[in-house]
Symmetry: C3
């Protein structure tokens, strides 16, 4: 933790039904490719010079910092979505900003909101945006379901 | 954090009354033997080859990753319980899965649910279970109380 | 994480309005001087011999453990506050205890409560208090606002 600054990151998302809300969340992590790691939630920065990479097969049980949005529901027929957005700055010596959002509603709507959140966060810093990335996913509930979107940091 | 894979783990649980819900939670952590450490919550894997040990006297103030269930209540007479279960795989090169659950209700009921959650999680992975461990604890509220069950990882 | 024991700490607080509750929280982190780091929430100990320092300019994107209270509101005119208190022991080989509290209400009231929480926590341990520090901040909501108080650990 202390002194550690991640050097790589990737985007991941997943949905799942499950026996309980936590089982559905576990299934969504598995579909996202990070279900066999120990995710530690953090607030929500891409360090300067941190590189976007394709999803990495992380070692099982590793402690992995991630910023994520997750939502569960047990209302059959309900649509839930989770999204994350990353705003990267023009000045590459500055950090990027991650925003997370999840709610009832369709994917495109949640993704639009979370992208706006990242834009607003950069405005607050007074920084120009070079690139805006996002990922979002929706889940239509059968019995108990979860949706997850994450930015995973790694070294 | 990054690159770190814990090599030992132990189970712990505690209950406590307290001046506020957070004080009760603090008391439950103390009774569990981890009240003077900095617990960092994580999702919920026992790494391959990670060994179950007797509870360790952790250094005060150390940053310690743990998967835990915790619940507080301020309803006198109410019974609350917290439990964790660990499903370990037949194939020892695969990781184990931790599930957490807390709710109103008696210990045996919450422990049964959390054990089922761990079984379902291994089914989802398509992995055979070699061993299923669990710990759960209940608290009958006097004024403000907390129950905690944890899997603590260490190195 | 594992084996890591922080050696320095500082207090920080901030308030902000924002486009969404998470944007307001981000703004409060920025005002507190920790908005461009990756805060990892932990429970809530100052290690023995850990030194209070003036707020440090942390490297952007670093993973930073912190104990914090945060609250958001979207009720115009409402006053919300967040506070943290640290009780340090007479015996300097023992750890200090951090408590966090946030609620509707004015700063002085929330700060009094969180200080009492830290005192009660030390009573529970049977330890004499050498020093009691605290910080709290209030936010009167315009549209959507957040208040944050934190103890940040570092090495």
């Amino acid at each position: 933790m202390i002194f550690k600054i991640p050097t790589r990151y990737f985007l991941a998302s997943g949905v799942s039904e499950g026996f309980t809300p936590l089982n559905a969340f576990d299934g969504a992590l598995l579909q996202a490719g990070i279900g066999n790691t120990n995710i530690v939630k953090m607030s929500s920065i891409v360090p300067p010079h941190c590189k976007l990479v394709a999803p990495i097969a992380l070692p099982p049980g590793a402690l992995v910092p991630a910023a994520y949005a997750a939502i569960t529901s047990d209302v059959p027929g309900e649509i839930i979505s989770a999204g994350v957005a990353i705003a990267l700055p023009e000045d590459e010596n500055q950090n990027g900003l991650i925003m997370e959002y999840s709610a009832k509603g369709e994917r495109h709507k949640i993704e639009e909101i979370v992208r706006n959140m990242a834009v607003e966060g950069m405005k607050l810093r007074g920084w120009e945006i070079k690139d805006l990335k996002s990922i979002a996913i929706e889940c239509k509930i059968k019995k108990i379901g979860a949706a997850l979107a994450a930015v995973v940091l790694w070294d």
